[in-house]
Amino acid sequence: MFGWEFPPHILGGLGTASYGLTKGMHANGDMDITFVIPKPWGDEERGFANIIGACNTPVAWRDVSWDYVNSRIGKIMNPQTYFDLRDHIYADFNYMRLNDLGCIEFSGKYPDNLVEEINNYSIVAGVIARTVPCDIIHAHDWLTYPAGIHAKNVTGKPLVIHVHASEFDRSRGKPNPTVFAIEKDGMANADHIITVSDLTRRTVIEKYGIDPAKVTTVHNAVIPLDDEILNLKRTDTKDKVITFLGRITMQKGPEYFVEAAAKVLKKTKNVRFVMAGGGDMEKDMIRLAAKRNIADRFHFTGFLRGKEVYQMFRDSDVYVMPSVSEPFGISPLEAMEMGVPSIISKQSGCAEILDNVIKTDYWDVDAMADAMHSIITNKALYNTLRDRGIEEIHGITWEKAGKKVIDIYRKVIENRQ
């Protein structure tokens, strides 16, 4: 498996999803998973997968001793793996900037020279593919597609790619041609494509022109939250709190939240609205709230980190995600697990699997306001959504998602033979 992020060092939803899926697949048994990431830190959870760092994989021969390797990267990787990998170097990469172990440095983030890093990643993939025997190759998101293709060419094994988001979602319809080309190439070379929602599946089929028979949806799941988070105490507030949580950008539809808030506040007094998160539209939203004359009851928190996010959920009576386009959207699932009734847009991928939420079109401000009002005024609706929501989330496990992925593997391998 090729991935870009892995908890705890994550920058977005990709890492969490890759982690959850890998763990879920492992739980189904009979799986030997090697997970390649650009730069492991050593504190990743192991046991269910063998993690190999691209930055620890030699691409040029260096005559180093076991002890030296052990002292350099022993905390991160078994030195024996290093020597195994060193035996499979397939070309001379000494012209590149390498370190003392003959490895390429990776940032593991999304640096400015991202395309170069992606390229390096696929060079490393060639070494790993020659070293680690496998039956199938699985690449998560466009950053790792070139590596996946390379590994497929080396081993002749089938390639499955996993679309967590497409350039069309990220750019709201104005894709970066380089990224688009990489994605398209990956999809064309893949033996099968997994998407996180039917919404994304449609994008892949319609925008990238892929044969529908090759694309299957495996919805994301949720990793159960720790007790520590679930036991957070609610801050005492007299008023009901309705929350928007996420990046304040066009994709997330924050302006619809403000407009709905204005409608609710016209009728109801004992309610406050919170817009948590940061983003390029934050200032516009502050201005909009002032213009609608609701600033006294509409609050901005700025960017929230770690536990603050969950504290925010805990203090909320309603969570709203009015995303204009969302490949999946994990946060309503987390809100529900914390017992917060949620309103989500029909344009988000998670709407496909959730029943105990209220779904509205993102542009239907009236419906959204109506749903908010209904939840805060009708205790019965609040209780039902809360209790059934928690129950529902407990049924959405990565283990089931992992099972589906394994079934796809089986099919792909069968088709090959």
Binding site: I358, D366, D370, S374, T377, L381, N383
Partner: protein, 488 residues
């Protein structure tokens, strides 16, 4: 000789339009006229009218030997009157044959039997009055909303003078017993029970065009044969079906109408009679008592009332609605009372069901909403507005008893005024009769009468129920205003 009773159910609720919370207090019209018109007109074209014509033809062709019964809700009749008035004429024709029995039921297809006995009695009376007014017959057999029934309901309908009730032949109540006998209620033995035979009804309603069914295709010959070959002691088969099954669920080209038309002929050959429940009950004696401690119905797999009372949302909505039952019935406002009927329809609660197992599909299929939550939200918004209007009629801080006594006082005053008026009138007649006496005393007497007359209008200002006199118009706003004044 076996008897078969067909019961055709017709019900349509007044579906609510999309009603947002900011409409509360501003908009008092709740109904989706377009959808209601469209649905009933479409069903009338494909199902209700052709089916009624089929029944009429069957009755005439069989020399009035074919008989059946109809259960029509008041809200359905109102919609026919509004949108398909010709159907009412067709029903009248059916009624005139004397071969169609109209069953009693609740006016708005409501759940009042489970929530509020007094309201239930009022609803049934209202329904039966409507049937009597339109078709000239008074229903004698009772069939509740979706055949909801339990021991308490048996007592209620017994107390209303019904001797027969149709209900569901639920497996968990009957156990090994067959539904094809006449039973009696355990709690109120005067009430005899007719139980539906679901298997034979489903063979028509569900399996008729089910090509994967092993008995497909079903012919009238075969079907009557099955009934004729039932054990000899089983004397009555009750087939309860929604009328729109014929023509809508089973379209005309499945041959369903021809199947129906062929039934009387084969029935005659094999000794199966198609008859009405009243005739059956007159002939048979109950074989056993049946006790139903928990309510049953003919809906969903569980055959209980969980389709309407299965979750917190539904119970909340029902509780809020029936919480004001007494109040609304004290009101005189015509529109308020009309809304009260329409809001009671069980369908609104059915849409809120969150069952998502086998029955979920049928819940979703009939619901105009995309989820039970939006059904609940919409209904609660409407209900909120309705409650505000009830509150405007009678402030909430007066409790019902106080209100009752105030209304009683007003009523008594009305009676008193009536008495006084009679007195005045009789005095006046006396004076007029006193022709023989001198003129002077007559004028005097008249003067006295005038005085008495002047006194009463002052009272009358607050009194609507006063009788009409001297062309004076009766109080336009009965009850409501008087109560408010009295309360102050």
């Amino acid at each position: 000789m076996k008897s078969v009773c067909f019961y055709f159910k017709i019900h349509q609720p007044f579906r609510l339009k999309r009603y947002r919370f900011f409409d509360i207090g501003n908009d008092h019209y709740y109904y989706d006229d377009f959808a209601n018109d469209e649905i009933i007109t479409r069903l009338a074209q494909v199902s209700y009218i052709p089916m009624a014509e089929t029944l009429l033809q069957m009755i005439n062709d069989s020399n009035r030997e074919f008989k059946c019964s109809l259960c029509i809700s008041g809200t359905a009749i109102e919609q026919f009157q509004l949108y398909v008035p010709e159907y009412i004429d067709l029903l009248k024709k059916l009624a005139d044959t004397g071969c169609v029995e109209f069953l009693s039921g609740t006016y708005s297809h409501s759940l009042a039997s489970l929530e509020d006995p007094e309201e239930f009695i009022r609803e049934v009376k209202m329904h039966d009055d409507l049937i009597k007014r339109l078709f000239g017959v008074k229903p004698k057999v009772f069939a509740n909303t979706e055949l909801i029934y339990d021991d308490d309901i048996a007592c209620l309908i017994g107390s209303m003078g019904f001797k027969t009730c149709l209900t569901e032949g639920a497996k968990h109540i009957l156990g090994w017993k067959s539904p094809d006998y006449l039973y009696a209620s355990a709690s109120c033995p005067d009430v005899k029970l007719l139980l539906t035979n679901d298997k034979l009804a489903d063979d028509i309603a569900r399996n008729f065009n089910n090509t994967s069914w092993d008995e497909y295709p079903l012919t009238a010959d075969k079907y009557v044969d099955w009934i004729a070959s039932l054990p000899e002691q089983e004397q009555v088969v009750n087939l309860y079906m929604s009328m729109d099954t014929f023509g809508s669920f089973l379209p005309k080209d499945t041959g369903i109408f021809d199947f129906m038309k062929a039934l009387p002929r084969f029935g005659k050959e094999k000794g199966v009679r198609f008859t009405t429940p009243s005739e059956v009950v007159a002939k048979l004696k109950p074989v056993d008592m049946i006790s139903v401690p928990f309510p049953i119905s003919d809906i969903d797999e569980a055959r209980d009332v969980s389709a309407w009372k299965g979750n917190e949302l539904q119970n909340e909505a029902l509780g809020k609605l029936y919480g004001v039952a007494e109040r609304v019935n004290l009101c005189q406002d015509r529109r308020l009372k009309q809304d009260w009927e329409y809001l009671q329809s069980s369908d609104h609660f059915y849409y809120m069901s969150t069952k998502n197992m086998a029955d979920g599909a049928s819940h979703a299929a009939f619901s105009p909403y995309d989820s039970p939550f939006s059904a609940f939200t919409n209904y609660m918004n409407v209900l909120a507005d309705f409650l505000v209007r009830v509150e405007e009629q009678y402030p909430e801080n007066i409790d019902n008893e106080e209100l009752n006594s105030l209304i009683l006082t007003i009523k008594n005053q009305a009676a008193e005024i009536n008495e006084l008026n009679k007195e005045v009138n009789s005095l006046r007649t006396n004076i007029l009769n006193a022709d023989d006496s001198t003129n002077a005393p007559k004028e005097e007497l008249l003067e006295i009468a005038e005085k008495a007359d002047v006194e009463t209008p002052a009272k009358e200002a607050a009194e609507p129920a006063a009788p009409k006199r001297r062309g004076r118009k009766p109080g336009p706003k009965p009850g409501a205003k008087g109560a408010k004044k009295a309360a102050k």
